[in-house]
Symmetry: C2
Subunit: 206 residues, 2 copies
Amino acid sequence: MNQKSDKTEEKILEAAKSVFLKKGMEGARMQEIADEAGINKALVHYYFRSKEKLFTAIFTNVITYAFPKISKILLSDSDIITKIEQVIDAYIGVLLKHSYIPGFLMKELNRDPSGLFKIIAKYGFNPEPVIGAIQKEMDEGRIIQMDPRHLIVNIISMCVFPFAARPIVQYVGFRDDPVATQHFLEERAEVLKKFIVNAIVIKQKE
Amino acid sequence: MNQKSDKTEEKILEAAKSVFLKKGMEGARMQEIADEAGINKALVHYYFRSKEKLFTAIFTNVITYAFPKISKILLSDSDIITKIEQVIDAYIGVLLKHSYIPGFLMKELNRDPSGLFKIIAKYGFNPEPVIGAIQKEMDEGRIIQMDPRHLIVNIISMCVFPFAARPIVQYVGFRDDPVATQHFLEERAEVLKKFIVNAIVIKQKE
DNA sequence: GTCTATATCATGATAGAC
DNA sequence: GTCTATCATGATATAGAC
């Protein structure tokens, strides 16, 4: 492999990721990607024939990154509470480091979800075992009875939404102060763990 | 006022709302709006000088609609639990009827939140009284102690996110079955009320 | 592989007839 | 007020020199 080729391709991918995450498929401009990569516009087309193909490459990369091995954690040997706490830490940790991801995904999934579908189908993600594992814990009386799907959606919602809706949270909740907002989001892992555990554990009578 | 003018303007607004909600500012095409209104493209520009102006009209309309009088409910005379239940019913009710709104708002707020800021500033929405009211209930021992902001964000997250992320919920959770997904979303008001009440009420020892 | 120049096309916006 | 025709711009994509 050519050294120059490798470096350029990498630069393009990095620039494309940055631009696509901020602007989305329709808002992004090939010129901007080229500029950010420090090369010519035509060269972007030389490596990735079209904007569509370049976007798909980035989208796939982001999706596979944003779908961490949640199911692996949930299917481990730990008890349900530990699993949930680990999932929350994992989710919030990723979101704190890559805060553009939720907004980007919301944008693109409402535009055209077919890309996501293909990737999920390819990786064969299946929620049934997770649902079954949660149901078992409920049947054994460790946590309250409820539809496991709703529990899963509740947890993911509380993790992801504040990041996806960050501009609103910042403006309405913190008078547009980005530092206070960041601090608020950093607190969320601890807050959520307490909140969810309190919501679902069955308290033993002493 | 001219009758013809009124009807045409109304038709344009209706068409624009439909197209903008589905495609967003950058995805929408003036041609498509004209087609859906059953008129000529030039006529859209005759009524609303630019795409930007037309979008602002729609955006303002949607925002003022999507921000229901949540704070009014929260500041009423009812106890905190009743208030929360009313807010959840109000939120889910609106979202079930206008399911495009969350996706649209997520998209546009991550693109350019300044439009939202102007509108909120104009309407003078202020979260402080709501936060204060919740804090009071906590101090009086009716619900558990936690940062009221986190509680508010938790509630809104669990209401809105499943609608904003509907394509994912449908594909991952329900094998892309829209009927099952719709049913799931309709259940959420009842599920959420139980879940949140269980999470925050302080159980009295008998 | 990398660049400049250009083809091609789509879109927002306007001019001008009726 | 409404239409047809057209402009002006800006974007993707390609051709061809180096």
